[in-house]
Symmetry: C2
Subunit: 496 residues, 2 copies
């Protein structure tokens, strides 16, 4: 079978009806027993088992939380297979070197990957204990095997996970909810930095600053957003020392007081995009908004066309996840510093009761008589300040790291969306099967990813430009970092 990205199955479960597969055969469900010698445990066992639990507790747009889970798990995979590689050394561990005979088939590495996954998930998502135990049993392995011998793949996988956990449990994200010395009623991933928005969902005191959006599932209960994990910006990166090494200029067009014309201009640009949305733009916005869809499908595509080995798959998978994870740290650092207004607030503020021309809601197309205060973005606005764009940075980091890993800008991916398969406008958009892309190069793909944030109405152009610039730089750092570990010469984190 062809090799697929580690997050593919997560994606497949949600979007199988949305994406017409480029390779039909690769999407057949796995029916036979898992082949430890020739299979890929990450793809065939771990990802399918993690799909349900992960999506039952997080949405595909919860980037900071999802990226940490995927990156740390990938980290454990990498450390679990490093001892079987001729040169590679673990990122969080030094678990020795196994004889070449043990890499004659995938068996030892698959077992190590499975135990590493089991222990990572027991740590990261312990509420699904029974699911993780069933995952190991489905591969014929014993969840109660407590072997810690470094001559055994069980021991190697177990200790790879232990090393990642020890290294990451207090990495700044507050996974345990114990930051600040909290003893009771701990809340995992709660903010401990005391971020306080200057605006509320009801009152825009300062039109330059971030305003929590109201969210509802349409049942009459409303909630106000809270900046998700502001401490992601002080979380320890893999590939550089500190986000303060990066320079991201202040968002001067979001300064309503000192730059009212720029403020209005960038809001008008978002309104214009809203009024002129094409099917391709709507679907591109949805595609790139789903982080479990846009990023991994490119890795699938390359894995299939380039026939990756098990090691190559783990390397590219970890590389792109850590590039995005590290880019997110820089993005969150500057989101917290600049605390910039989202388009919906600026448009409500500027136009109030006046009519604007804009998208009128699902299936209503463009309308001329919507009041500024009623405007909504095509995509839901995520729960963090606007500038710089996380998505633009993730795509740029992912693209640059992949370019360096493959040695070429060539991508050659396209995505076909079936008639009526839109998430925002189901049964309405697109009117007929529609192809996104094609993206011959990573450059074109990352460009559309960035533009789609303006089409979706959740970002101004400046946030996209700056997010992409910093993401590309992090992608380069991530590649240097991981290739050093693959070659057995781990570099010191880049100091800027």
């Amino acid at each position: 079978m062809s090799v697929r990205s580690a997050t593919t199955r997560v994606l497949a479960a949600v979007t199988i009806l949305f994406l017409l597969p480029t390779s039909g055969a690769a999407r057949e469900p796995q029916t036979s027993a898992f082949d430890l010698d020739n299979g890929n445990a990450a793809i065939e066992i771990v990802i399918p088992a993690a799909t349900g639990p992960l999506l039952s507790t997080l949405n595909p747009g919860d980037a900071s939380l999802i990226l940490r889970i995927t990156t740390l798990t990938n980290n454990a995979w990498f450390d679990a297979i490093a001892p079987y590689h001729p040169m590679a050394v673990g990122v969080s561990s030094r678990l020795g070197r196994r004889p070449a005979a043990e890499r004659a088939t995938n068996r030892q590495r698959n077992i190590a990957i499975l135990y590493a996954s089991f222990h990572m998930f027991m740590n990261l998502l312990p509420q699904f204990r029974e699911e993780w135990r069933a995952m190991l049993r489905s591969a014929g392995l014993d969840p109660d095997d407590r072997n810690r011998d470094l001559a055994s793949p069980v021991g190697i996988g177990t200790r790879a996970a232990e090393a990642v956990i020890a290294s990451r449990i207090h990495d700044g994200m507050n996974q345990l909810g114990d930051e600040g010395g909290r003893r009771y009623h701990r809340q995992p991933y709660a903010d401990y930095l005391g971020y306080r928005p200057v605006n509320t969902a009801e009152v825009l005191r300062d039109p330059s600053r971030w305003q929590p959006d109201l969210v509802t599932s349409g049942n009459g209960v409303f909630r106000a957003q809270k900046f998700v994990t502001p401490q992601y910006g002080v979380t320890r990166p893999y590939s550089f020392r500190s986000p303060s090494q990066f320079h991201v200029p202040a968002p001067r067009n979001s300064d309503a007081a000192r730059n009212p014309s720029g403020y209005r201009r960038q809001a008008e640009e978002v309104l214009r995009a809203s009024a002129n949305l094409t099917d391709v733009q709507k679907l591109s916005a949805e595609h790139f908004n789903n982080k479990l869809q846009s990023l991994p499908t490119t890795v699938i595509h390359l894995a299939e066309t380039r026939q990756y080995t098990l090691d190559e798959f783990i390397f590219h998978e970890f590389l792109t996840n850590l590039a995005a994870f590290d880019a997110g740290i820089v993005v969150w650092h500057f989101k917290r510093r600049y605390d910039a207004v989202r388009p919906f607030s600026a448009i409500h503020y500027l136009y109030g009761d006046r009519y604007v021309r804009a998208w009128g809601g699902p299936g209503r197309g463009t309308v001329n008589d919507i009041r500024g205060a009623e405007w909504r973005s095509y995509l839901d606005t995520a729960d963090h300040p606007e500038y710089p764009s996380g998505s633009a940075a993730f795509c740029a980091a992912h693209a640059e790291a992949s370019r360096r890993f493959t040695g070429t800008d060539a991508l050659g991916q396209s995505v076909t969306v079936a008639s009526g398969a839109s998430v925002v406008e189901p049964d309405v958009t697109p009117r007929s099967d529609t192809t996104l892309g094609p993206w011959p190069t990573w450059t074109q793909w990352a460009r559309d990813c960035g533009l789609s944030r303006v089409w979706g109405g959740v970002h101004f152009q400046d946030a996209v430009t700056e997010g992409a610039a910093l993401g590309a730089r992090v992608g380069e750092y991530a590649f240097r970092f991981l290739s050093g570990h693959i070659q057995g010469r781990p570099p010191a984190p880049v100091a800027g």
Copy 2:
């Protein structure tokens, strides 16, 4: 089979393992086809069909939204059977009078109830269209039957629902999201009165006023509460003219500036309750917090012991729902006016970094070293200001209406909770099967309902006292209102 409350099945689906049935046989699933002549369509068809849809979009604690759905549906049932009663007249309709022969069995009334339910649900919860169509088909009825003839039960049920919808679609709750002339991106039940909390989830500017609580499902995503449906306080009641007819004194012990000793005293009372929680208190708090459990199980109990007819069941069911619905209108009116602080805010404010003695979280019992700022109530705090207590008012209205309907204070209910069946402390509480009550009288039941709000840490005593007082008064009004309609002499709404 014995008669059961209309909300019983809703309850049963969630709490079948929690409540040990007092009458085992009554809880057997319905396996045979529905008997139109002798069955009770509300209990056997409508409620089971509504269970899943309702609980997939609302929680059992979303009182304002749930009570309006149940009350309006009960209203349609009442209006659908009134033409078959010797004297009764509909609350929202005048659909004529049918010959006595048509009430020889339950057939005509059951058909009318089923079409009334179908059209109410299509209006109230239209996203579940297929479920409502299947509901009618399961009783052998045609969802496409458009008969509006008042000589037919199909026509009577259909027009009863139409009358309720016409009367209630703009009753103030903003069901369509169109209040304030909103044309695009309408949000059902959104606040249109412009309520703005003076405090935020992060900052308690005024310790006397309501502060939105932070909510999370433990996955790292946090949201701030928003006062749910403040417009419930301006929604049209059934049984009186206006909530301003009621007098509820200001919550003087919640005035931190002018009454600091009272403010501290009532917070200490909640802390003391938190430190001394017994299993019975914990489980009572959970029982009365679940509005789909505490209220309807009493009606089941009476329906079983008093062998209600179909009419009697519908009368008592509608009566208790409208009593609670109307009581909620008064409660919400005063919640908005007084905007009073919840216990968690007061305790965080008063004790901050100092240690208090209190409940330490699920399974941790009472602890001495929890900081004031870390304190949490045993129950989650609902998304509306504290004073007066909604639950105390619902229970008192329900109890008073039931006393008047049955002519006695006698209740005689008890509830047994199986070992480890606590929702807050699963597998831990209670240590052995535990009986709540027994409540020989409505008076004792309503008293425990009120006290349980202090045990649960979500209310101060004054809110309970005042909520119960106004609820009892509304219960009396509700009884007069409905008994007038049953006797064919509908009263003008009471003007205080």
